[in-house]
Symmetry: C2
Subunit: 443 residues, 2 copies
């Protein structure tokens, strides 16, 4: 065999190149997505990695004769002449006048769900049961291309801000946030847990790299079967040291979101267009204190009983308020009550009843929790004791504080949840490729 050079021969012409090859014979590879037989000719739509390419078959311009083995979902190599298409809106499009089709592989059966129409129209459960097939529909696959863009934007922005990307272990010896809602794992006769958050590890890495981020799965054994929870999801986390205020964290997130939205509009324009995504414009993001937001909710909404946290209804109201008041799709709610935030959260020195923490609402849905963390050893040990926790169980976590940690804080963003809300879905499962919930672990 010859040496490998690192060059993969290009044997398929990208659609974007068609305009430079009008009148020429070119070859594309893709799946036969749809065949529309118009009696004297046929439209054969080829699905390539990111596009649908219209090809036209007619005995008029082809010596090749269309055979019955050209069926939807077969993989094919199609050769034809590039010609301009007739488009309704007069926009410039190109199609191939087919001169040959070579079948590369043949399906054994017709898909159980129609995927060659504009939209897959089955119910959610069927959509998910047949994910390996339904994802082939251009709108379905566009959802996860947008999702790629969101996490890519998060990563690229933080990399530009001198963050280091890390990978922390998902097999944990104890639950990161106190041992509730964690999955147990049988590990060589020891009981260990699946990480429900990279929290304690990313904090440990602040004195190492100052700024770190991770994009990785987390696992939560939550028993509720809601439209916005998953038992496994992708968490986009960052943690940064040497902050002057917890607003540094909120500003970093604001910068990342601006970058992400811009990336979607540029590099993911085709998918944004296909899914008619209303990509938010961000200039600045307004803030409101939890206390003030709560007062407003109590005034405007009925039956508010929980004074320590928000119901989804209240978040939705606050989202609308931010849109009306500030024309903003985003709203930071700050200074949540100490009693409702995790043990590592820094209390506000000016009012220890509240914390230097925040949630970010996006169109009325919480997509981020974050805040400043305790960095002083004695303060953290005291807080643990006050909460009835045993600091000895956290001895490796407390190495962070014991051996010196700078003021720091960070946040976590649920990738599927952001995707869901950006695309206007009512259920997070539409925004998870292979969702895991209390009833579903397949496919």
């Amino acid at each position: 065999m010859e040496d490998m050079t690192g060059v993969v021969p290009v044997t398929s012409m990208p659609y974007a190149e068609f305009k430079n090859h009008v009148g020429e014979q070119v070859t594309i590879k893709g799946a036969i997505h749809n065949i529309r037989d118009m009696s004297d000719f046929a439209f054969i739509i080829v699905r390539t990695a990111r596009e649908l390419v219209q090809c036209v078959y007619s005995p008029e311009f082809s010596d090749y004769r269309l055979t019955p083995d050209v069926v939807e979902q077969c993989a094919a190599k199609v050769t034809g002449k590039v010609v301009p298409s007739e488009t309704r809106d007069g926009s410039e499009r190109f199609e191939l006048q087919i001169s040959n089709i070579e079948i590369l592989s043949t399906p054994a059966a017709i898909p159980p769900v129609v995927i060659s129409k504009k939209q897959v129209t089955c119910d959610l459960s069927t959509l998910l049961d047949y994910r390996p097939v339904t994802l082939r529909n251009p709108k379905e696959r566009a959802i996860f291309k947008i999702q790629e863009g969101i996490q890519r934007g998060f990563r690229e922005y933080l990399t530009s801000q001198n963050f280091t990307e890390v990978h922390t272990p998902k097999i944990n010896f104890a639950g990161a946030e106190g041992g509730t809602n964690v999955f147990k794992l049988d590990y060589f006769d020891k009981t260990v847990y699946l990480a429900q958050s990279p929290q304690l590890y990313k904090q440990a890495l602040v004195p190492v790299y100052e700024r770190v981020f991770e994009i990785a799965p987390v696992f939560r054994a939550e028993h509720h079967d809601t439209s916005r929870h998953l038992n496994e999801y992708i968490s986009m986390d960052f943690e940064m040291g040497f902050i002057d205020s917890f607003t540094d964290i909120m500003n970093m997130e604001t910068g990342a979101l601006k970058y992400i939205m811009n990336l979607l509009k540029t590099e993911y324009a085709a998918e944004v267009e296909l899914l008619k995504v209303d990509v938010p414009e961000i200039t600045t993001i307004p803030c409101i204190r939890f206390k003030d937001a709560k007062e407003m909710c109590v005034k405007k909404l009925k039956n508010i009983t929980d004074m320590k946290d928000f119901e989804p209804e209240e978040e939705a109201f606050l989202g609308k308020w931010a849109k009306k008041q500030f024309n903003s799709d985003f709203l930071f709610v700050t200074h949540y009550l100490s009693s409702k935030r995790p043990f590592y959260t820094m209390d506000d020195p000016e009012d220890p009843e509240v914390t230097l923490s925040f949630d970010l609402l996006f169109r009325g849905l919480e997509i981020t929790s974050g805040g400043q963390r305790i960095h002083d050893y004695n303060m953290q040990v005291e807080k643990m004791k006050k909460l009835g926790m045993n600091p000895e169980e956290f001895d490796t976590y407390l190495m962070l504080h014991k051996y010196g940690a700078p003021p720091h804080g960070g946040l976590g963003i649920g990738l599927e949840r952001v995707t869901m809300h950006l695309l206007g879905f009512k259920n997070v499962r539409y925004a998870a490729m292979f969702p895991r919930d209390i009833n579903r672990v397949t496919p």
Copy 2:
């Protein structure tokens, strides 16, 4: 509170900027890494995100008086005048003549392991027991900065080659490669498994995006406690469709490796220098068939009994041979025996005893397994039956083939293993931030 603008105020001067501020007062933030008291003056080394900055204290040029609370590992804000350093080799370096130190946080104890020397000199077990502390040593943290570079290069290169980044579920309903060596999880009274590979999912996504990759944890319940296995590690996987030959996969990997090595030499030059990394030069990568490689091993080495696979000793020999013969640090070994490769591997149509598969050896260590996969439904079902597997248990996997898949293939690279071998470690645990093995799940 004011609106968030997305701008995080810069309150620490990066060392790279010092050269533009000679003679001026600047402020840096970092950990006090080391203090060397020279009686009439003191060197105070500040550890920032990626550097050590030399600061000098002397009553001569400072009104500030050094206090006993300035200790190693405290977080500090140091202000001083930028002046050129005296360097042994005459290279241009700068230091700060300290005019003020503000302590931002104070450790509660002295680190249990000395981390302020050039090297952490404790044994492996202690090194790992105190990872949150030992990682602060510049050489230790440089290991994982290099690791970041490897996975970043993999991602950037594949993105440039039109791959889509995906996240596949780690909670699986069945073992991806036949049910052995998988961790069991208690999932709402169902037994499920942790993914030992994204194999079956990434294949399912080939008809969706044509080219996909994932960088994510995988879990293997292997009982052996060796120097090159971990029970949780980061797998860099890709899968590509419409290949003309399995050499397309090998060429794609060659391109990715060239890109990675170049990225390390440019963006990670400081860490490469600090760790004296011998970054391989890649022009082309030679190939040898398994059969020919085996013959050579049998001739040159004693006591070869397993004729179907390689012992580590044989891989090491082949690595040396490739270096001598081709001056290459890498060697592709191809056409492994069918009986030794997984059920989804494509047999060579010219000789069904062997497969269209390969391993990549890097300096005599296997770092990649890959190959072409079966894409035809009947062929895959037949192979499963021949191997005594029940195709019905794989019905969701087989949707890929049943409903049409192009010729495709891919590979997986163990991130820690590449890092280990690039840095010349004898044990993979040195290249895992928080390694998990049969005896260790902490910290």
